[in-house]
């Protein structure tokens, strides 16, 4: 699914430049659930941004679903994002004046799906995260966990190849975090490839593989025995 070869990224800070990623090599297969761990400044967010085409790489190659991602301008990036990627953010990033249903159907709008089909599909995904009854509610009327589930439904709605989750549980309490992880695990079990950036050990243990970053290089890449979040959720 993902093939990264000798990836370098540095940021210009005035006169000096900050070398954030120093030669990353990473292969991720279809259907994997990978946790990217590391302290702040380790480069994990930068890596995710590059994978998510929210940022461009300096050196190396990035292949997504056997498509070489290069020469990204904003228009091209937007199309790839729409086609390949679903995002889950720490702060949910729902549009606050749109209902849950409208939020979920937004990526479909940008895919050019007709209104009726859009609504049906969005409702189906909303139902799959257990929020069909909340379809007409605004984000402000939802709890944190519900908001993140709406965001997950939205990320799923465009049927992406890859889900990118940036600290998906960062703004949630432990119980809600496990509920969200349970949902992510279920989606993964259905075959979706998912990348989770986190700094919480227990969340990382719920993935199938942990990649640890330190100072811009991968220091550890291990498969783990997945802890099922379901056992914490009633």
């Amino acid at each position: 699914m993902i093939k990264i070869n000798d990836l370098h990224k540095s940021y210009k800070m005035g006169n000096s430049s900050l070398h954030v990623l120093k030669g990353i090599n990473l292969d991720i297969e279809d259907g994997e659930l990978v946790a990217i761990m590391g302290s702040s400044g380790s480069g994990k967010s930068t890596l995710l941004n590059i994978l998510g085409m929210l940022d461009v790489l300096d050196e190396g190659t990035y292949e997504l679903d056997r498509v070489l991602i290069e020469d990204l301008d904003e228009t091209k990036a937007a199309k790839y994002r729409n086609k390949f990627l679903g995002f889950i953010f720490q702060s949910f990033n729902l549009i606050n004046y749109k209902t849950a249903l409208e939020n979920v159907s937004l990526p479909l709008y940008y895919q050019g799906v007709g209104r009726k089909e859009r609504q049906e599909k969005a409702l189906r995904y909303l139902a799959s995260v257990g929020l069909a009854d909340w379809a007409t509610h605004l984000p402000s009327e939802l709890s944190g966990g519900q908001k993140q589930r709406v965001a997950i439904a939205r990320a799923m709605a465009s049927e992406p190849k890859l889900l990118l989750a940036d600290e998906p549980t960062g703004a949630l309490d432990t119980k809600t975090s496990y509920e969200v992880m349970d949902l992510i695990q279920k989606i993964n079990q259905e075959g979706k490839t998912i990348l989770v950036v986190t700094h919480e050990e227990d969340i990382a243990q719920m993935c199938k593989r942990i990649v640890r970053l330190k100072d811009g290089v991968i220091v550890e890449d291990t498969k783990v025995d997945q802890v099922l979040a379901a056992q914490y959720v009633q």
């Binding site: 904003e74 937007a78 990033n93 004046y97 940008y110």
Partner: protein, 409 residues
Amino acid sequence: MFNRDRWQEIFETIRKNKLRTFLSGFTVALGILIFIILFGFGNGLKNTFKEFFLDDATNTLYLFAGRTSKPYRGFKANRRIEFENSDLADIKQNFSFFLEYITPRISRGASVRYKNEFDNYTTRGVAPDHQYAEKTIIMKGRYINELDVKNKSKHAVIGRLVALDLFKQEDPIGKFIDVGNSVFKVVGVFQDDGGDNEERFIYIPYTTRQSLEKGNDKVDQIIVAFRPELGHAGALAFEKELRTYLKDKKSIAPSDPRGIFIRNVADQLKQNQQFANVLQLIVTFVGLGTLIAGIIGISNIMVFVVKERTKELGIRKALGATPKSVIQMILQESIFITTISGFVGMAIGVFILNNIGETLEDYFIKNPYIDMETALFSTLILILFGGIAGYVPAKRAASIKPIVALRDE
């Protein structure tokens, strides 16, 4: 542009962001409303000005006679010059090319009485063409005619206020009034845009006045109208020739600045028109200023709107919105709002102007109006600039990396 889905998305955004929509719409509507009202007031001011200064015919020369200041052809200085009927005939004959009409004017004060009402008025002995020189408007009856002049008939045309003073509700036509010591028959009532004083005159045939004064043929004043096609330069040339001719006829030294005086309304007209132009300039300037203020207002609102939506735009981009679709969405929304509210503001402004009418006449604003072209043009300008003002921040917002936009709180 005609994508139904996109319109639905825009209507939804508008419906759910009422305050924002109202603010930008209000700014636009207010901008165009103020522009239209100010521009209309400016036009009203111009109307008042025109009424004040442009009442009399503007292609006229007023000829007066006075005393000479230099000896000439055996005459001493300080000789009194007077116009006579023969001057009228001579001017008519010698300057027929320049002339539109010519009329004498002999002004005399007189006590005028009808039954028990009486007052002092100015009578003017005139020829029929005097009506054009003063732009006198006949309300009832008729003006002095050639027959009156020929027969020296005792016919009088009285001003509206004279009729009001002396006759109250009675119809003055055919009634007899005492003017000085003779009896005149009222043949007409007139009004004049020049104001109250102009409506307190009494016009009588100049020949009648002359016969009342022992049958002389003296004339106080001659009013000469030249053909308007001559223009300002032609009028000046005519004036010069006329002066030379009359000085020669009356034996006044060519270098004598006195003796004959000619007041050229064309000069005055030029000054008045210059003043009117300055007024127009001020009106235009004020209008332009308001329009620019309106445009700045819209720009501010647009910057604010886009700034407020930065995060939303970031989310949309992360979900696959291209920069083009982001710009299109913002522009379409802003142009939609500015168009609707622009025309609403315009309609309200025009409606207000139409209903003011005469109510502000005390403030020198008479019949304020704006022509449809100016109203439409300024509205379109505002919409256009609203669009441009929306485009710049929209373009910037669309080029912000989504990752940056998403961090915006």
